[in-house]
């Protein structure tokens, strides 16, 4: 559309300003993280005179962000592995195998999409406590898996529907069991979808605060996002360290985004168009 002349600047300028407004808060935070406390109090906006990494170091070690980071990494990777495994298994069976009750089971999985954590927070916390899973890594991992499994199953099912049954039949004729087909055909063929869903699931788990707040009460089990919330009270007078802690929490997401932006967008788009 090259014909939009008249209104072009009316569009371009607001869009550029909005882009700036989207990026500036993060740049501001990164800049503050590099400053000394004195610099920040004197002038909030001036560009930092040096790249000071010591604030980041302080946040990492003495604030405990490093410990929280490792907790998050452990919980998120375990959750994503389980989500992809269970999600692709169920997705394969529900999309490509004929068996009694498959439709009902699919709808049952889908029903999970409409049950947000807030609605089952109280009974779920009780179930976890009754089974000794409160404040344990497996407990939180299980909660994450349960939270994002409906979405994962849904996406894997719709992806596998596009795979021709002839491939599966051929593999069966070659003597593969159903499990063999899953392992040798469906898993490799599903890798684009697994990547997209896996990144989205990882982001969801990494960014969560409510579930880990409810399930992980003790301080040394804290995940990174809960760690960020506890920064505020401790470092209200040391803004550069506070900003460093925020930056530590944002950096992994930024890196993932820079490299895998297309896959993330594909996952979101697939979730919206494959109704």
């Amino acid at each position: 559309m090259t014909r939009i002349r008249l209104g072009r600047w009316l569009v371009v300028i607001p869009m550029a300003l909005l882009a700036l407004a989207t990026i500036y808060p993060l740049l501001f935070t990164a800049n503050v993280a590099m400053k000394t406390r004195r610099d920040y109090i004197l002038d909030r906006f001036s560009l930092t005179d040096a790249l000071r990494w010591e604030n980041i170091g302080t946040a990492w070690s003495s604030v405990g962000m490093g410990r929280y980071f490792v907790n998050s990494l452990l919980v998120v990777t375990s959750s994503v592995v389980l989500l992809l495994l269970f999600g692709s298994m169920a997705g394969f069976a529900l999309s490509r195998l004929r068996f009694r009750g498959s439709r009902a089971l699919f709808l049952g999985c889908l029903a999970g999409l409409f049950v947000p954590f807030q609605v089952i927070m109280v009974p779920l916390a009780r179930i976890m406590a009754d089974n000794g899973l409160i404040d344990t890594y497996p407990g939180l991992i299980l909660v994450y898996v349960a939270q994002f499994l409906p979405f994962t199953v849904f996406l894997m099912t719709s992806y596998y529907r596009a795979i021709p049954t002839e491939i599966i039949d051929a593999a069966r004729i070659d003597g593969n069991s159903v499990y063999g087909v899953y392992r040798r055909i469906m898993l490799p063929l599903g890798s684009p979808a697994l990547l997209s869903v896996g990144i989205l699931d990882a982001l969801f788990c990494w960014n969560d605060v409510l579930m880990s707040l409810v399930m992980m009460p003790s301080a040394d089990h804290r995940t990174l996002m809960v760690g960020v919330t506890s920064l505020r009270g401790q470092y209200s007078d040391d803004i550069p360290t506070f900003a460093s802690g925020v930056l530590i929490a944002a950096l992994p997401v930024l890196v993932v985004y820079l490299f895998l932006q297309r896959q993330i967008a594909d996952g979101v788009a697939a979730g919206s168009t494959k109704g």
């Binding site: 869009m15 069976a93 003597g175 409510l210 960020v228």
Partner: protein
């Protein structure tokens, strides 16, 4: 390859594998193992769906029933005693919960804005505004940040002695207590939420645009339609399904993913003005030890969600009919 040597059109699975593990699994099953094999094969689909179904049923659907059941029992001394609708009566008498519901109403009123912004931006990006690729990448980024991080960043920016007030002060506008004024705080939090999440809706809109027939736009342009006319008469009808979907998901997002922002930015304050049902549930359960009351609030939230969810199912159904 000699002619006449009949090659199977499908290579044995083993041929493509170099690791020994796969090779041993392919064999001609003997008659006996084939018989047990058939039985195992019949159960295979159930084995494959079992983990997912079990987890979803035990940790999603069963707790839902448990929670609804729980909302009709008492707290504290009356733990486990059936109390009928007492919790619900108390809930609707509680000014904090009423504020929370009022804020849900406010979210519904602001919903068109939260949908229109990404819709318009997606339109311009689709029409290849100069730099459209950059814009897409930049706008989408906040959507992948945790609400906690977004909230913490805006705590810095919006502090009473923070940069935003410093800028306003330099142009002669007095400092605004963004997060401390009960009349302002909720709008600020919703604004930040929209800022942080419109990128998601933008990507959904762009996925919708990918299915749009470009010939329609060409035809409209040949007929001399202006841009507003094109948007209103061509794009909106063509993307009606996407627009409805974004409406529903944005609403669900506002109801279930603002906890992080509220927790970090306002803690429900000032004067309880930024309560939403999800925050109320968390406070009652975790801080005030009123699990049954929290369950009642959960049930109310679920009813609100259910209305939205059923709407979504009917939309998807209708859309499915349009496709095929």
């Amino acid at each position: 390859m000699p002619i006449g040597d009949v090659q199977p059109s499908v290579r044995p699975a083993r041929a493509g594998r170099t690791d020994g593990a796969a090779g041993s699994a392919i064999r001609r099953p003997s008659a006996r193992s084939r018989r047990t094999g058939v039985r195992a094969e019949r159960f295979a689909p159930y084995v494959l769906v079992a983990p997912a179904v079990l987890i979803i049923v035990l940790l999603r659907l069963y707790p839902l029933l448990l929670g609804v059941n729980f909302s009709f029992t008492g707290d504290g001394e009356r733990n486990g005693v059936a109390v009928g609708l007492d919790n619900y009566l108390e809930l609707f008498r509680d000014p904090l919960f009423r504020t929370a519901l009022g804020n849900v109403g406010l979210l519904v009123l602001l919903l068109p804005v939260a949908v229109a912004i990404p819709g318009l931006l997606a339109t311009f990006i689709y029409l290849r505004v100069p730099g459209h690729r950059l814009y897409r990448g930049v706008y989408f980024f906040p959507a992948v940040l945790s609400p906690v991080i977004v909230g913490a960043i805006f705590n810095l920016l919006l502090a009473f002695d923070g940069p935003l007030n410093a800028v306003l002060g330099s142009v002669g506008v007095g400092p605004v207590d963004w997060l401390g004024d009960p009349d302002v705080a909720m709008f600020v939090v919703v604004g930040v939420h929209v800022w942080a999440t419109f990128g998601m809706a933008l990507v959904v809109f762009l996925a919708g645009f990918a299915t749009l027939d470009a010939a329609l736009l060409d035809a409209a342009r040949v007929d001399g339609a202006s841009l507003p006319q094109v948007i209103w008469h061509v794009i909106v009808p063509a993307l009606s399904r996407t627009i409805q979907f974004v409406f529903v998901t944005t609403m669900i997002g506002m109801l279930t993913s603002m906890f992080g922002l509220l927790y970090v930015m306002t803690n429900g304050g000032p004067e309880g003005s930024t309560y939403l049902p999800e925050y109320y549930i968390w406070i009652q359960q975790g801080q005030l030890s009123r699990p049954a009351l929290a369950s009642a609030a959960s049930t109310v939230l679920f009813v609100i969600m259910l209305v939205v969810g059923l709407l979504q199912i009917t939309l998807l159904r209708r859309a499915g009919r349009e496709d095929r």
